[in-house]
Amino acid sequence: MKLKLITAAVAVLMAAGPAMADLTFSILSYRTGPYAPNGIPLADGQADYFTLINERDGGINGEKINVVECETGYNTEKGVECYEATKGEGVLVYNPYSTGMAYQLIPKVTADGIPLHTLGYGRTSAKNGKVFSNVFNYPANYWDGASHAVSHILDVNGGDISGKTIALVYHNSAYGKEPIRTLEELAKKHGYNLTLLPVDHPGQEQKSQWLQIRREKPDYVLMWGWGVMNQVAIQEAANIRFPMENFIGIWWSASENDVQPAGDASDGYKALALHNVGDDYPLYEDLQKYVVDAGKAAGAGDQLGTVLYNRGLYTAMLSVEAARTAQKIHGTNAITPAMMRDGMEALEMTEAKMAGLGLPGFGPEFKVSCENHGGNGFGAVSQWDANAGKWSLITDYVQSDQDIIGPLILEDSAAYAAEAGITQGCN
């Protein structure tokens, strides 16, 4: 036991050694465990983008990027260990890709002065930067997603869905419960009926939920799933011959992994999208040249162009752009986590900027401010084409119903501020 501790101490000291001069970014990945099929493309996308910036541009304005990767296995306890192990290395921003972990990190990063970016997940009310000074969830959040799904259904039905039934199949966890409140409020506004069908972790057993769907025949099914739950749900939907175009998943139920197991039966399945799909972008040529052909691709290098790889890429791109913004604001290239926070709070993504990066039309335009850490709530709907084997966006980026979501965010963040004793304000 003592020997173990001594060895661990030596190992930790060795860890503290590497140079602190670089800009350090962290990848809290889960390449192992039940969610590995999703965790691998997410981690590869981030790692490859950072490699590309280093190889092609020599870093961000001349500052090399140092990436520390830590394996969480989607486990909160390992996530704590990872956070504590890496924060001493001057990590500029954390992206845990787990709502549970995000909840846990929110008070910690705030105390340590490190920004946390939860892209399309995490605590929705973190959008209110007056309460959550170090947490960012741009470009869109779960409540935006719920609203996008409902507005898409409205579009399809010519603007009237009163009397229709919408069922929500959700992962019975913090993540899955997030949209319920918004969907209830939207139900009051648009007059549809909402049925809630929780699925317990990990989601392999959904027979009873889909039996209920078969019996009650809801007009639409929304899904907040993750990992194996998505595949099972799509397969079950196919089994009861639920019309796939009436089945809409959140952006975490929108990857190739989720639809491919059901084969042709998943054709027409819809899912929300935070960013564009596919690999038809100038940036991919650079990726091929500087990363893949140079043999520097992360992992097996076989994930390029998948939805979740693109999400990893998008996350890393937003982090790098925020770092550039921070460099400009503070007039120094060697930025600290506190400067990074300012950069994230002043981040503005425009079409011209994305085109300049080789990703034209990749994501929505948005602007972050102290009052609004969550972007403008734009999202699109994508649809799976089983024959072609690819996703495509079928709508433009539309804005969520801010009249409904705005008050909910203020209410929830005020409750958090009261519980945690935070004085609201912008500094």
Binding site: E71, E81, N172
Partner: protein
Amino acid sequence: MFYREAGDFKTSYAEDNQTFPIKFDRYRYYVVLVLAFAVVPFIINDYWVNAVFLPFLIYSIAAIGLNILVGYCGQVSLGSGGFMAVGAYACYKLMTSFPDVNIAIHVMLAGAITAAVGVLFGLPSLRIKGFYLAVATLAAQFFLVWLFNRVPWFYNYSASGQISAPERTVFGIPVTGAETAPWAAYLFCLVFAVASALIARNLTRGMIGRKWMAIRDMDIAAEIIGVNPLKAKLSAFAVSSFFIGIAGALFFAIYLGAIEVGEAFGINKSFLLLFMVIIGGLGSIFGSFAGAAFLVLLPVLLKNLLVVGLEWPTDLATHLEFIIVGGLIILFLVAEPHGLAQLWRVAKEKLRLWPFPH
């Protein structure tokens, strides 16, 4: 040579019955206590507390609790994850309902509430034995997790069902929440761990512990010699759940700070605790600590060696970690089916004779 009974004369029953009858052992124990209370708090940082000491101490308390039930009383339980959840949610409800009461009292009350719940789910043990009891306690595991997910009152109607520990202080020093100093969180858990170990040790070598062991070894014989199985079994469930509840409360309030019941207290947690007890040694307080250390610290150590030391890819290191820990478990259990505690006992026997074994 140094580790021997010879020359260490005992002149009273109290001395004769003490936990560490050998002088060397006793001093070693005092040194460990002094180190733990007076030296470690000054040298630890966030990483050591959150990645090493807190999980070790908290899992030790839980393992002590489960060891009382499984190791001393012989009632196999797979409900420990659920009982930890009861402790965590009880602590959360108490913390938010009575913010002015000291958190230490809340943690103990959470233990008491868990004890009550444990007794309730221990009732079937009067009729069911062995593997069948394990399956019956599995019901507790699933029911409790379902309950905390289903009834919004338990998580104060928050939108996501997550519970988060607000800041609470002991003597004006925060021990929960993000502003907690590493040493404060460590000391708070250490006090509970040491107290739990002391109470458990003294319970198990007293009358009540002997009743538990009689039930474990042969319940019919125990009944014939006058042990009331109802009282013995239910008291084992109560005491065991009390410690597990305290561990759950600390796990939530001090260690993680925010918890989602399905992820934190799932069936995996029950298995993990059971493995700790089996690997550490059934029916041994030291074994509870050893088992917790083995299953909590070894993965962290391996991770640091493989990823940080040798700079291997993180996924490869994690897979290797599973292989190594799994292999070691098999190796230990083949070499010593009675766990790490028995290895320790054998080592001590050898030490007594060293260096002249004949």
